[in-house]
């Protein structure tokens, strides 16, 4: 089987794809603070803590973790009332904090849930806190 002469368009596609997967995707995810597409496995030391409040009363994230099926969501929330070391989970939680609050609604239907995420990107960095509040349906 003979190798066909390289079609310029194919070569151009390879260059474009290369730029996207080697430069653009990692750089964009780096700039959004997560580094999730920048091959940062085992690189980061970020930690997080989740605080859930239902109608002014503390709700332990482990209680929500027990409600969902065993798996990644459950692992991330279990014990999250104390700082946990998992940088990918930290970055994902920041993006999905509202969904976590909605998840907590299943444990406290009808309540007003406030979800707070406390992030420690590095050991000596200040704690960054984000917060969302949702009103749960009955």
């Amino acid at each position: 089987m003979a190798v066909r002469a390289a079609l310029p368009s194919t070569r151009r596609i390879h260059i474009a794809v290369g730029l996207v997967v080697v430069v653009v995707l990692p750089l964009v995810s780096w700039l959004d603070g997560s580094g999730q597409l920048a091959w940062t496995m085992f690189s980061r030391t970020g930690r997080y803590r989740v605080e859930l409040i239902a109608d002014g009363v503390q709700l332990n994230p482990t209680e929500v973790a027990a409600f969902v099926a065993p798996g990644p969501t459950s692992s991330v929330l279990a014990g999250a009332d104390h700082f946990k070391h998992h940088d990918v989970a930290r970055a994902t939680l920041r993006r999905q904090l509202e969904e976590v609050a909605i998840l907590a609604c299943k444990v406290r239907p009808g309540a007003t849930i406030t979800a707070r995420l406390h992030e420690l990107v590095k050991s000596d960095a200040p704690i960054r806190t984000s917060e969302v509040t949702v009103r749960c349906a009955r």
């Binding site: 290369g18 990692p26 030391t45 798996g71």
Partner: protein
């Protein structure tokens, strides 16, 4: 035999496709269940198979469980086709996209190695990975740029990994202290003393950066390849790194060379 072997100079790319497809299947199906690997514990073995539980999906893109189950089956069939070299250009894209869609059903299920698995499958679909060692051979369209794309992609993983560590706390001793405290390095806890943390962290970053750069130059490629294999073997022995090492070893095959054709003898 010639109809399966195909273009000799693209055999490394094809070998990488076969190995990568195999690792894809081993990671996303219960094939290894009898060996009880950590990544299959507590699961059905079919990565992302609907379990009836509540999950947080990415951007609210929750799909019906039946559709997710169908995507898992489609992903598996496509991965088998990719490995065997059957309609590789379609099967790689289907395996990758189905994988990403299933992954999006649980935002907290994201891991770097799963992204690598699905992105890798898509990349193998876009290059001439089916021009050799494939059940259904296709004529190469641009063999040189195909090899170059995969090689630069693999080298970039090492370089970005080094950059990520440099930008984090690697080199201060904090990273290894944290990993050790988490129990991830229990097998070598006897060796990891706080005095050694900084030196080990700097060594890892330097080696990763050197491998990434070394793979890109033909003169240093062989040494870099040996260092990369040694690095992954070490990580495999001392830490729980899921299938990252296997995936990287499969991808590293793109840096090998097929044997030179023997001169014709009379």
């Amino acid at each position: 035999m010639r109809s399966v072997i195909g273009t000799p100079e693209l055999r490394p790319l094809a070998a990488a496709r076969i190995a990568f497809g195999l690792v894809f299947l081993l990671r996303t199906t219960p094939l290894l269940a009898i060996f009880d690997p950590v990544f299959l514990r507590g699961t059905s073995g079919w990565l992302g198979w609907p379990d009836g539980g509540t999950h947080v999906s990415v951007m609210g893109a929750t799909l019906p469980p039946a559709l997710v189950g169908a995507l898992v089956i489609l992903r598996t069939v496509a991965a088998i086709a990719l490995m065997l070299g059957v309609w590789t250009r379609v099967s790689g894209i289907v395996a990758g996209l189905a994988g990403y869609l299933v992954l999006a059903q649980d935002a907290f299920g994201y891991y770097h190695h799963l992204h690598m698995l699905y992105l890798g499958a898509i990349l193998f679909a876009l290059v001439d990975a089916d021009a050799a060692l494939a059940l259904r051979l296709t004529a190469a369209r641009s063999g040189r740029s195909s090899l170059a794309l995969m090689r630069v992609f693999v080298a970039s993983i090492y370089l970005w990994a080094a950059v990520g560590k440099l930008a984090s706390e690697w080199g201060t001793g904090a990273a290894l202290a944290m990993f050790r405290a988490s129990g991830a390095l229990d097998r070598v806890a006897w060796f990891l003393t706080p005095e050694r943390y900084v030196a080990i962290e700097i060594c890892v970053v330097v080696i990763e950066a050197a491998i990434g750069a070394g793979l890109l130059w033909p003169r240093t490629r062989r040494v870099a390849l040996c260092c990369a294999l040694a690095l992954h073997l070490t990580f495999e022995i001392i830490a729980r790194v899921d299938t990252i090492g296997w995936q990287m070893c499969a991808l590293l095959l793109v840096f090998t060379r097929s044997a030179q054709p023997r001169p014709a003898t009379r």
